[in-house]
Every structure is written in structure tokens, then in C-alpha cells.
Amino acid sequence: MSLDIRRIGVALVLLILVGLPFGLGNYGYYILATIMIYSIVSLSLNVLIGMGGQISIGHAGFWALGAYASALSVVKLGFPFLLGVTLGGIVAALFGALVALPALRVQGHYLAIATLGFALFIQQVLFEWEWLTGGRQGLFVPRPALFGVELQSDFSYYYVLLATFLLLAWITGNFAKSHTGRSLMALRMSTIAAESCGIARARHIIIAFVMSAFFTGISGALYGHLLGHLSTETFSLAVSLSFLTMAVIGGLHSRAGALLGGAYLALAPEILREFKDAQMVIYGITLILCVQFLPGGLISLVEKIERAVWRTSDGAS
């Protein structure tokens, strides 16, 4: 019974996601597209933080790597769009394996600093590597194209992004049910117990970082083709921090939460535009309130309402 309700809920959300762009204009399409792009990053943090118990404030680094790898392979090597995006994910994933190495030794604050250093390093290298990345001038990125047909409007691109999000969300769900994913969560709950069960910590931490970096690289690649122009300012420390904020506010243990997080990060600046500099204050307060009262993120609010509805309907029957 509750499984059926869940299915109906998922179908409803899908329907809404498919129907959203209708009646909107170009700017609306663009905002919807960024929601999907952010949500993919949020998924990646679900894997790394929610399942793996690791921390990263360096995801802007993976995002940048994905964006530049895809853009450059399309511009300079003539790769088709989809191949470029995949390459963006792969390049980021390789660096993910690299960033996992400090995570095998240090945790918590130290790991946060290490990942932060990684993101700053990537940003700086991309900035200085002028002949390749355009440095200060930046880099023009062609529109996305599927099988030789250019997607002129963000309306159609939104559906590509939605499909990508759904594919990665499906993979994330499979991962959460998989032996590997469950072993990763076991390590988070008790490393000593997990190792006594024969679960190798290093292997699983590396997998978590590689997967998370791959997702974020894909997202960065898709973002580059949406923007049409890349400059290294896009991948600042502030972006890494807002990724973390979005993932926490949306919910770190839920794919629907990842979607809410993406929506929050894309929509909040739009809604709060009037507040100008006071925006940062509001973000800060939102985060504090969320951590204090909704540690499971916005999605846990939805789940609470769902349970309350269940109780009343149980009582009535």
C-alpha cells in the first residue's frame, strides 16, 4: 500500500518535471535548466556525504574540470556534445580518485581543507593555462547538439538535462541498494565493524569520491554548454560552499532532496533579488535554521507531512 503511494508520488513528480517549462519564457527555461544541473551536483554530494560520510568543499573543482574538459574536447577536438560531456565526467572522476587519497588519511576539518585546496588549485591552473583555456578572456562553448542537431532553445535542452538527472538518480538509487553502496554506508556507521566484516575502507572511499566527482563533472560539462561561455570566476570557492549548502538544505539522504536542493540554489537568488547584499545573511540564517531544526533537509519536512497524512487517514479508516 505505502509502496503504491510512493509510486504515485514519483509519477506525480515526474509529470510536474515534464510539464514545468510549458508557459514559461526563455529565462524560465534557463532557470529550470540550472535547477537540473545543480540537482546533479546535489546527487553527487548525496553519494559522498550522505552515504560515504566524507566531506568536500572542493566540488567547484570537479565542476570546473568537467566543464573545461567537455568544452575543450568539443571545440578543439570536434567531439560530439554527448561524448564531450561523458569525457567531462571521466576527467573529473580521475581527479576524484586523486582527491580520495588524502581522505584515506584525514577526516573532518582536515579533509575539508584538503578538498578546498584542490578546488583553489584547479581554478588557478585553469586561469593560468591561457593558451588552452583562454585564461582571462574565457572560452566560448558551442550549444548542445544531439546527433548533429543543435538544440537552439533551453526548452529542449531542459529535457536533456532532466533525462540526465533521472539517469544519474536511478544509478544513485541502485548504488544505495548495492553491496558496494551498503558497504560504504556500513563504513560510515562503524569503520571497525565494517573492516571486521571484510569490507575494505580504501576501496569504498575511493569509489565514493570517483562517483561523486563523475556526477559533478557531468553537471559542470552540461553547465558549460548552457552558459555558452566559460571563465574561471564561475568556479570560485563560493560555488563550492553553495553546493554544500544546497545539498544540506535539500537533504543528504534522498534523491528527491537533491532535487529540492537544486531548486533552492537556482531559485533563492531569483526570489531574494530585492534584498541585494542582505541575501547572504538570509542564506546563512536559512542554513543555520535547517541544520538546527531540519537536519534531514527540506525533504524531511515533506516526509513528516506525508507521515502525518498517513496517520490521519489511518485514524479515519
Binding site: 544509478i171 553491496h179 562503524s190 571497525i192 571486521s196
Partner: protein, 257 residues
């Protein structure tokens, strides 16, 4: 033949000598009790065998293999599983999940197959679930299988930890105070379980225990530690009479009385 050989093992923590030149063997299909006052080094030795600690001197051999270069997660694959004095469970997970996690490493499913939910990887997952269910049943945990471990009473939590260890089909089982915190009735059941594991499943057991009734009824050999040193070894009856043991437990006057 000895399944586990401890030879001349020493370890100290910042000057405190936790284990001193310790040697003894655990025979295949034996049940060996490790006893001694608190701080004698019993758990330290168990941690050395499970490669959580590394001895500074000496050697630990299991099944003829030196454990010196073994990592703590590789010990399980060799056939050594354990429980912990203060319980190391996956507390937020269900009983079934705890037991399943005890056996997943043996299935070695390729990650890509699992990520794309391919039919054969799904079949293997189901095989693992079936095996977990069998273990739950034989450990009489089926009824609580879906309950979160942290919500169970202490005694049942200990059973879950044992079930999780058994899920690895160990050759050697290390039990750190399996009867601690249990009433006499429950302790008797623990003793019976340990015997059954040896008699029916052929599992060798090394156990730390303070409950002397359990030690005396279940062990065929007992090793007594005090301040990191072996002060006695023998059958339960022999050890009980040894003056060094009486002294360690009850003090000098008792030994001379």
C-alpha cells in the same frame, strides 16, 4: 595441529607494556578461554589477532600464514571473525542489514553490474539476502530481522553481533566477553551456543570471559594473563588450582591460605 599460533608477542602503549612475550597455541576445533583481571591485555591480544594493532615483537600465525602484513579488513577473508567487548554494530541499520553486511564481501559483485541493476547482479544480491535469512533463522533472529539494532535490548544486540560474525563462515571465532551483562540463564545459553558452533560447524573459538562458569564448562584449554604476561595455561581444572592464578585474582593472602 594449531590453527592459531601466538609466539613471543609483545606490545606496549607509550611505555605501558600491554603484552609481554606472550606465546600459546589454539588447536583446530579447540575452544580456548582467555582469562585474567581487567587490564591484563586480553582484548589487546584479540586486537592484535584481528590486525587492529600490530605487535612490536613476535609473530601471530593463522593457518600457517604470518599475519604481520595483513590489513584489518583482510583478516575476515582468511577466516577470522570476531565480536567486540562493547559491541560494534551498525546501530542505525536493521538486524537483517547487519547480518547481510557480514557476508557481502564474499560475493564480490562487480560495481557496474550493480549500478545498472543488471539481472545477474540482482540474482546474486538475492542469493546474499537468502543466505542472510538462513543465518537469521538459525540464530533465532528472524522475528526481529526488520528492527533497527539500536532499539533492541542488550542481549539481543550481542546475538546480532555473533550472527554477523558467523555470516562470514569463520574458521576462527574471537569472542570478547560473550556472556557479559547476561543473567545465568542467558550465560548458559551462550555456553551451549559456543559448544554447538564447535561440535557441529567445526569452528575454532578463542574467547575472553569473566564468567567462570562459562569458562569452566565450555573451554578445553584456558590461558591466564596478568599484566600482559601469561601466568598459567592448561585445562580448566588445572588452571583453577594454579597458585599464580589464585594470587592474581584474589591477592597474596588467598594464595597462601
Amino acid at each position: 595441529m594449531a590453527l592459531l599460533e601466538i609466539s613471543k608477542v609483545s606490545l606496549s602503549f607509550s611505555g605501558l607494556r600491554a603484552l609481554i612475550d606472550l606465546s600459546f597455541d589454539v588447536a583446530e576445533r579447540g575452544i580456548v578461554g582467555l582469562i585474567g583481571p581487567n587490564g591484563a591485555g586480553k582484548s589487546t591480544l584479540l586486537n592484535c589477532i584481528s590486525c587492529l594493532y600490530r605487535p612490536e615483537n613476535g609473530q601471530i600465525r593463522f593457518d600457517g600464514r604470518d599475519l604481520a602484513d595483513c590489513k584489518s579488513h583482510q583478516v575476515a577473508a582468511l577466516g577470522i571473525r570476531r565480536t567486540f567487548q562493547n559491541l560494534e554494530l551498525f546501530r542505525e541499520a536493521s538486524v537483517r542489514e547487519n547480518v547481510t553486511l557480514g557476508l557481502v564481501y564474499r560475493y564480490k559483485l562487480p560495481l557496474l553490474g550493480e549500478l545498472f541493476d543488471l539481472p545477474w547482479s540482482r540474482a546474486m544480491q538475492r542469493a546474499a539476502e537468502d543466505e542472510a535469512n538462513r543465518i537469521l533463522k538459525s540464530c533465532e533472529l528472524s522475528e526481529v530481522a526488520n528492527i533497527r539494532v539500536s532499539e533492541l535490548p542488550y542481549g539481543l544486540q550481542k546475538s546480532v553481533e555473533l550472527a554477523r560474525a558467523l555470516a562470514g563462515h569463520p574458521k576462527l571465532l574471537l569472542l570478547d566477553e560473550p556472556a557479559a551483562g547476561m543473567n545465568p540463564e542467558e550465560s548458559r545459553r551462550v555456553a551451549k551456543t559456543v559448544r554447538r558452533l564447535r561440535d557441529e560447524d567445526g569452528i575454532t573459538v578463542l574467547l575472553i570471559e569473566h564468567d567462570m562458569r562459562v569458562v569452566m564448562t565450555v573451554c578445553d584449554r584456558v590461558v591466564v594473563l596478568d599484566h600482559g604476561e601469561k601466568i598459567s595455561e592448561g585445562s580448566p581444572a588445572e588452571v583453577r588450582r594454579a597458585p599464580a592464578v589464585i594470587k592474581a585474582y584474589l591477592g597474596d593472602e588467598a594464595a597462601h591460605a
